[in-house]
């Protein structure tokens, strides 16, 4: 079985800052991580491989430094990593990204064997669109299973997979033919700690690097900024709210007084609440 998993190197959103003067996001010096949702997909791919044999190929599109994310994926135990990197890809929106990735996956299929499953995370934490996975599936004409919470079973002889999918109404159990594309939900598993052998292999691996031509992409107008209809018109920081938090002076007051003062303060702002919470009888 050959599994391709698409990951993205994203800025660690917990450590991102807005420039106090220009109000733009300060990307410089912000540590990067593998998109956390992708790690659930990666672990699921590794588990399938461990149980049924085969190989896991990790794919990312990004600047040369995205190699760090791929090397980390190898440390977790992936077998092979492909970095799709080319200036022509700069400024890609989800349409252009899914185009480039689907071309690269087709090339991976030709080079290393046709994938049975393509995994992605549910969405990225920097774009939050959840569009790239479905975009790849559509372009490669793969059956798509989104928001998958659990892989119930896989039958490689019948080429069938059964999954549980989270939907608004509840959980759906779906059976699909292979090959398919799966976008994994968070919280489905926990990424493993790679063995010493995996870590050593990852540290020494040469990452496969493809530019647009290597990935067999001929139509560059579908790539990068040119291939991206999405336009960012303005980036801004939310305005600071005018209202200030009210502070209660705690010195020389009993807890009972403080509680009374707090409740009075809340009720004065939310009069409706007082009626709602009114006690019947003696409190």
């Amino acid at each position: 079985m050959h599994i391709v998993i698409c990951i993205k190197q994203v800025p660690d959103s917990a450590q991102i800052r807005v420039h106090p003067v220009t109000n733009t996001i300060m990307r410089q010096g912000v540590p990067t991580i593998i998109n956390p949702y992708d790690l659930f997909a990666l672990e699921e791919a590794l588990r399938l491989r461990d149980a049924h044999g085969g190989e896991v190929t990790v794919l990312t599109m990004g600047p040369p430094m995205a190699e760090d994310a791929l090397r980390k994926a190898l440390t977790y135990g992936a077998d092979r990593a492909v970095l799709l990197t080319d200036r022509h890809f700069a400024g890609s929106d989800t349409l252009a990204t899914s185009f480039a990735l689907s071309q690269a996956i087709a090339k991976i299929g030709e080079t290393f064997g046709s994938p049975d499953i393509v995994f992605t995370g549910k969405q990225t934490i920097d774009g939050d669109t959840a569009q790239v996975g479905p975009g790849i599936a559509k372009r490669l004409d793969l059956l798509q299973l989104t928001y998958v919470a659990k892989i119930v079973s896989i039958d490689l002889n019948k080429r069938e997979i059964t999954v549980e999918r989270r939907s608004e109404g509840g959980t759906q159990t779906l059976m699909s033919k292979l090959p398919c594309l799966i976008t994994m939900l968070e919280g489905t598993n926990e990424i493993r700690r790679g063995s010493l052998d995996d870590a050593l292999r990852a540290a020494r691996s040469r990452i496969v690097k493809w530019n647009a031509a290597d990935a067999g992409i001929e139509d560059l107008t579908k790539c990068g900024l040119r291939g991206s209809p999405t336009v960012v018109k303005r980036v801004f920081a939310p305005a600071t709210r005018a209202e200030k938090a009210e502070q209660i002076d705690t010195t020389e007051k009993t807890p009972r007084d403080l509680a009374d003062e707090l409740i009075a303060g809340i009720f004065s702002r939310q009069p409706a609440l007082e009626d709602e919470l009114a006690f019947d009888g003696d409190a």
Binding site: G29, T75, R193, L196, D197
Partner: protein, 434 residues
């Protein structure tokens, strides 16, 4: 699969990177293990980079190393609660083509250094903690065990560059646990400010940098030092005191730092800044007398783990780098001769270190840690206060005759420390400095 390397380096700080680079670039098969997520993620320093010591490892480091500002000015402050009296030196000579000192941000610098190590051919594993050194029946160190599932990794020699609080070497009995009176605890904040604001506040231009080092009542009678370094778009500000002093006084480090930041001499320099990060770290302060055994059968120890830090001149990373380099060179020499990595042969590292500035500087100040520790109240509270009073007395113009002012100043010194105390402090300080 049990793999064998020529050398395993534990830690990817200044000492570890210097050792790994030196050995890998001379063709040794080197494995470097770092517990942090990436090299530099666990490393904390002020930080000032000393060019000369890095040039001896990577001569053209200026081409691509992430450097913040080169230093053209240094200020030393003696502080009391409302004032500082000090000395400052600034020279355009420091605007040379190959500047002598730079401020750096270690998280970025160490990533660069580690890339050089990998380019030199070493295998670098991060997020991998060495749990134990492996020994043969005779007690010779033959490799390491890690916290990842897998076999022992073998090597002819293990270079311990695990930092000040390296549990590995102490657990293995290769050296003692650092004592509270031989390590300082320093806390530091990074304050973001636009580049031009920093330039204005410190009178700097085009990548020039300024360093302030301060002592006095800010350390509340403990032996300690505060600092303020200008980076390109941020200011590193911190303070450190001996751990034993913190324990005895029950003072808290962040409280000292908050106090230092509020000092009228400091506050305007960092006003309107945004705190970017907060860090704390231990600093070896024991000096020459605290240096442990530096080599043995199958191992050497370098950098902070070996207490190689010059507290008087606030130099650490250059001693770390140099000890790492010399350890690497010694190992390469032993290897080239085809000799085993046993104690007798690895003594070469110690003799190289003895001949270098590292041990010579530390030996020069061997009595300083004890002096400052036992007399910390005098050196860090009484004298700064007296000096400040004397300066103010001198500058404030009123109707007091000058001769009376001088007498008052002298009387204040004698009252606080007595003639004998003053002479004895002066003599002891002079001897410790000698």
């Amino acid at each position: 699969m049990t793999e064998k390397f020529d050398a395993i380096v534990i830690g990817a700080g200044m000492a570890g990177n210097a050792a790994a680079y030196t050995m890998a670039s001379r063709g040794l098969k080197v494995l470097q293990l770092e517990r942090g997520e990436y090299p530099g993620s666990k490393n904390v320093q002020g930080a000032i980079l000393y060019s000369n010591m890095l040039e001896k490892i990577i001569p053209d480091f200026r081409d691509d190393a992430p450097l913040e500002r080169h230093l053209v000015e240094q200020r030393f402050w003696m502080m009391d609660d409302t004032s500082h009296i000090g000395m400052q030196y600034r020279s355009d000579d420091f605007n040379e083509s190959r500047p002598n000192r730079y401020t750096v941000i270690r998280a970025q610098f160490d990533k660069w250094f580690s890339r050089k190590v990998r380019e030199a051919g070493a295998t670098v594993l991060c997020e991998t903690t060495v749990t134990e050194v492996a020994r043969d029946a005779d007690g010779k160190v033959i490799g390491v065990h890690t916290d990842r599932i897998g076999d022992v990794i073998l090597a002819d020699v293990v270079v311990l560059a695990e930092g000040v609080n390296g549990l590995l070497g102490t657990r293995a009995g290769l050296r003692e646990t650092p004592k509270p009176e031989t390590v300082a605890l320093a806390v530091k904040e990074m304050h973001f400010l636009p580049e031009d604001v920093i330039d204005q506040r410190f009178g700097l231009k085009a990548n020039e940098g300024c360093v302030i080092e301060a002592a006095g009542t800010i350390s509340r009678s403990m032996a300690g030092l505060a600092f303020l370094y200008t980076n390109k778009e941020s200011i590193s500000i911190g303070i450190g005191c001996l751990v034993s002093d913190f324990a005895a006084t029950m003072e808290s480090p962040y409280d000292l730092l908050e106090n230092f930041k509020k000092h009228p001499s400091v506050q305007p320099l960092i006003a309107d800044s945004e705190v970017k990060e907060y860090a704390a770290h231990l600093i070896p302060e024991g000096g020459y007398k605290a240096i442990p055994q530096l080599f043995g059968n199958g191992w050497v120890v370098t950098g902070d783990a070996a207490q190689l830090n010059n507290a008087v001149h606030r130099e650490g990373s250059n001693l770390a780098m140099t000890s790492g380099r010399l350890a690497g060179e010694a190992i390469v020499q032993v290897k080239t001769r085809g000799d085993p990595m046993i104690k007798e042969n690895l003594a070469l590292y110690k003799s190289k270190l003895d001949k270098s500035f590292v041990i010579k500087d530390l030996r020069k100040y061997k009595d300083m840690p004890a002096l400052l520790h036992t007399n910390s109240r005098n050196f860090f509270t009484t004298y700064p206060q007296l000096l400040s009073q004397a300066a103010q007395n001198f500058m404030r113009v009123d109707s007091t005759p000058k001769i009376d002012k001088e007498r008052a100043t002298t009387a204040a010194f004698i009252k606080e420390r007595s003639r004998w105390g003053l002479v004895s402090d002066a003599v002891r300080f002079a001897f410790a400095w000698r």
